[in-house]
C-alpha cells in the first residue's frame, strides 16, 4: 500500500510542474502587455521601471518562470495589485471558507446520493427508482447559481430560516452547502445505482444466497461494499473539484472562498491573485485525485496488488 502511495505522489510532481508552467504563462497569454497587466491604478511611467525590475520582466521568460517558481516554493506568491497585500495572506484568508463549504457539501452529497442510489437499485424500475433518478437528474443539470437563488428565495426570504448571505456562522453554511451538495448528490446517486445493479448481477451473489445469508446482510455487507468502490473515487475527485467549482455559489451567497477570489482577480486583472488562487486550486485538485486513487486502492484489494 505504501509503495503504491509513494509512486502516486512521485507521479504528481511532474504534473505539478506542467501545471505551474501553465499558470505562470497566464500573465503572458492574456491580451495586453504584462507590464500593463501589472500596473495598478494610479501608477506612472516611473513605476514602470520599478515594476520591470521587481518582476524581472527584462529577463528571458524561462528565467522569469524559475524565479517565480523558486519564490513560490518559499511561500512568496507576490502581492495583490489591488489589495496591496501578499497573495499568500489572501489565500490563507479565503481557504477556510472554501474548505468548510466543500467538505460539508461532499458529506451531503455522499449521504444523500448513496441513500438515493441504494433505494433506486433496491426498487429497480419501480416508482421509487424513477423518482429518485429524476431528482438525481435535476441535481446534475440544475445550474448551481439558480438553485442557490431559489433556495434563498424559499428558505431565507419566504421562510426566514436561514440568513440570505454571509459567512462565518453555521447557519450561513447550510444553504450554500446544500446547493453544492445537491449537485454532487445527483451524480453520486446515479453512479451508486448503476454500480449496485452491476454488482447484484455477479455470480458470487447467488452463492451468498446459497450460503443462507439474508437479503439485508447481502445488500449491505457485500453488494454495497463492492458497489461503493467507484463511488469513493468520485468523491475523492469531487473534493478537488468543489474547491473551485463552487465559485458561483460563493458569489450568490457572498462567501469569500477561493473561487470568488479567483474571479474577482480576473475581473480586476489582478494577476498575482489569479495565479495564487489557481495554484492553490490546482494543488487541491491534485490532492483530490491522489486521494481518489488511494481510496480506490484501499477499497479494492485487486488494485492494491496491481501496483505493488
Amino acid at each position: 500500500m505504501w509503495r503504491f502511495m509513494v509512486r502516486r505522489v512521485l507521479l504528481l510532481i511532474p504534473i505539478f510542474g506542467v501545471v505551474s508552467v501553465i499558470i505562470f504563462s497566464l500573465v503572458h497569454i492574456v491580451p495586453g502587455n504584462p507590464i500593463d497587466n501589472l500596473m495598478g491604478p494610479g501608477m506612472t511611467k516611473a513605476h514602470e521601471q520599478q515594476l520591470i525590475e521587481k518582476y524581472h520582466l527584462d529577463k528571458p521568460i524561462p528565467v522569469q518562470y524559475l524565479i517565480w517558481f523558486k519564490n513560490m516554493l518559499h511561500g512568496d506568491l507576490g502581492r495583490s495589485i489591488v489589495e496591496k497585500r501578499p497573495v499568500s495572506e489572501l489565500l490563507m484568508h479565503h481557504l477556510p471558507y472554501s474548505l468548510s463549504l466543500g467538505l460539508t457539501a461532499i458529506a451531503i452529497s455522499f449521504v444523500l446520493g448513496v441513500s438515493m442510489g441504494i433505494v433506486s437499485a433496491a426498487n429497480k424500475n419501480r416508482l421509487w427508482d424513477h423518482s429518485a433518478m429524476l431528482v438525481a437528474l435535476f441535481g446534475v443539470t440544475i445550474p448551481s447559481f439558480w438553485l442557490g437563488l431559489i433556495l434563498i428565495l424559499i428558505f431565507a426570504v419566504w421562510l426566514g430560516w436561514f440568513p440570505v448571505s454571509g459567512s462565518g456562522t453555521l447557519m450561513s453554511l447550510v444553504l450554500p452547502a446544500v446547493t453544492v451538495g445537491l449537485g454532487g448528490a445527483g451524480l453520486v446517486a446515479r453512479v451508486t445505482r448503476v454500480s449496485m445493479l452491476e454488482v447484484a448481477s455477479k455470480d458470487f451473489i447467488v452463492l451468498l444466497h446459497a450460503k443462507g445469508l439474508g437479503k439485508t446482510a447481502i445488500l449491505l455487507r457485500h453488494i454495497l461494499r463492492n458497489a461503493l468502490i467507484p463511488v469513493i473515487t468520485i468523491l475523492g475527485l469531487r473534493i478537488g473539484w468543489v474547491l473551485g467549482g463552487a465559485v458561483t455559489v460563493e458569489i450568490v451567497f457572498g462567501r469569500p472562498g477561493l473561487g470568488q477570489m479567483l474571479i474577482t482577480g480576473l475581473y480586476r486583472r489582478d494577476y498575482p491573485v489569479v495565479q495564487g488562487a489557481m495554484l492553490l486550486l490546482a494543488m487541491g485538485i491534485m490532492l483530490g485525485t491522489f486521494l481518489a486513487d488511494v481510496l480506490y486502492a484501499y477499497a479494492d484489494p485487486r488494485v492494491r496488488d496491481q501496483h505493488d
Partner: protein, 327 residues
C-alpha cells in the same frame, strides 16, 4: 430415510417474452453418503434443478409449478423464506460453476468461510477460525493459515475451488450440490478436485448431487446417474448399469459421442439436430425429432418413467408396456 427425494418436479419462469417451463416431471432420489451424477448438455435444465432444490427460484423469477421435493422426509415446497435461510448453507450447500467469480473480491477468503460458519453455528470467532483452518487442511489446502488471510484474486483456480468447497462444507451440510465444479479448471486440477469430492463425501457421509456434462467424471466417482434432456430425465439408475447398457436412445447417442482410443477413423458421431429452445419444446417425447428410433406415437404421447430391472428408470415409449400398439 432418503436424504433427498424429488418427485415430478416442474418449474416455471417468467421471462420478458412470456412464461417458460424449463423442467417437467423430474424425479430422482439420493441417499446419505451417495453420489449422484446429473448429466446433460447445456440447456438441459441441470442448473435449474439445483436452484429448485435450493429454494432459489423466487430470486430468479421462477417457481415450482408441480411436484414435490423432500429433504430428509420434510416437504420443502412452500417453505417460508426464513426457514430456507436456516437450511441453505446448513443442510444443503451449493458449490457453483465458476470458482473465479464465486467469491466476493473484497473480503479475505478465510473470512468468507467463517461467515458461513458463524451464520449457522453458534460458535465464537476464534473457534470458527480454528475449524476453518482444520477444514482447509482436510481439503489439502497448503499452508492454510496464510491462505486464510489472502484475497480471492491472489489464489489459483484450483485453490479457489477448494475454498468454495470449504465454504460449502463449513456448516456440516447433509446434502452438497456441485454445479459443474470442474468445468473451469485445468485437467490436472480437475482430477484432484474430483477425488477430493469422493473422499470428503464418503468421510462425512454427505450426499452429493454432482451436476456436469463430463461423462468421464461421472463414471469416476458417481454411484448413480440421471441423464437429462430438455428439462426431463430420460434415464436414471446405477451408473455402471446405465453406462454399460444404455437403453434410452439419447443416452446411447451421448455415450457414443465420446471419442475412445482405438476407434476407427471417421467414426466420431454427433447427434443430428440441436437441443430445442425452452420456448419450443417438441410435443410428446422431447427427444423424438432427433431420435433414430422414433415412431409415430412418439410425437403424441409424453413418455413416463418405466422401471427396468431393479432400479433403472427409462423415459421412453419403447419400454412402456402400455404402448405395445406402437412399440
Amino acid at each position: 430415510m432418503t436424504l433427498l427425494q424429488v418427485d415430478g418436479l416442474g418449474v416455471r419462469f417468467q421471462t420478458r417474452e412470456g412464461v417458460v417451463e424449463p423442467l417437467d416431471d423430474v424425479s430422482f432420489a439420493i441417499e446419505a453418503g451417495q453420489i449422484m451424477g446429473l448429466v446433460g448438455e447445456t440447456g438441459s435444465g441441470k442448473s435449474v434443478t439445483a436452484q429448485a432444490i435450493m429454494g432459489l427460484l423466487p430470486y430468479l423469477n421462477g417457481e415450482i409449478c408441480s411436484g414435490r421435493i423432500w429433504l430428509r422426509g420434510q416437504d420443502m415446497r412452500d417453505l417460508p423464506e426464513d426457514r430456507w435461510r436456516t437450511i441453505r448453507g446448513n443442510q444443503i450447500s451449493l458449490i457453483s460453476q465458476n470458482p473465479m467469480t464465486s467469491l466476493d473480491p473484497v473480503y479475505r477468503v478465510g473470512h468468507q468461510i467463517v461467515e458461513g460458519m458463524r451464520l449457522h453455528l453458534a460458535i465464537s470467532a476464534r473457534e470458527a477460525h480454528r475449524r476453518a483452518i482444520e477444514l482447509m487442511a482436510s481439503l489439502r489446502i497448503p499452508d492454510p493459515e496464510r491462505v486464510f488471510q489472502q484475497y480471492p484474486h491472489q489464489l489459483s483456480g484450483g485453490l479457489k475451488q477448494r475454498i468454495v468447497i470449504a465454504m460449502g462444507l463449513c456448516a456440516d451440510p447433509k446434502l452438497l450440490i456441485a454445479d459443474e465444479p470442474t468445468t473451469a479448471l485445468d485437467v490436472t486440477v480437475q482430477a484432484q478436485i474430483v477425488t477430493l469430492f469422493k473422499e470428503t463425501t464418503r468421510k462425512f457421509g454427505i450426499g452429493l448431487l454432482l451436476i456436469t456434462h463430463d461423462l468421464g467424471v461421472i463414471a469416476q466417482i458417481c454411484d448413480t446417474v440421471a441423464v437429462m434432456y430438455a428439462g426431463t430425465i430420460v434415464e436414471s439408475g446405477d451408473v455402471h448399469s446405465v453406462f454399460a447398457r444404455p437403453r434410452h436412445p439419447y443416452t446411447r447417442a451421448l455415450l457414443g459421442c465420446v471419442p475412445k482410443l482405438g476407434m476407427p477413423e471417421g467414426a466420431l458421431s454427433a447427434i443430428p439436430g440441436n437441443v430445442p429452445s425452452v420456448r419450443t419444446f417438441p410435443t410428446g417425447c422431447r427427444f423424438h425429432p432427433r431420435c433414430e428410433e422414433r415412431r409415430d406415437c412418439c410425437q403424441q404421447a409424453k413418455p413416463k418413467m418405466n422401471l427396468i430391472g431393479r432400479e433403472i428408470w427409462v423415459g421412453c415409449l419403447k419400454y412402456d408396456s402400455q404402448r405395445r400398439d406402437c412399440w
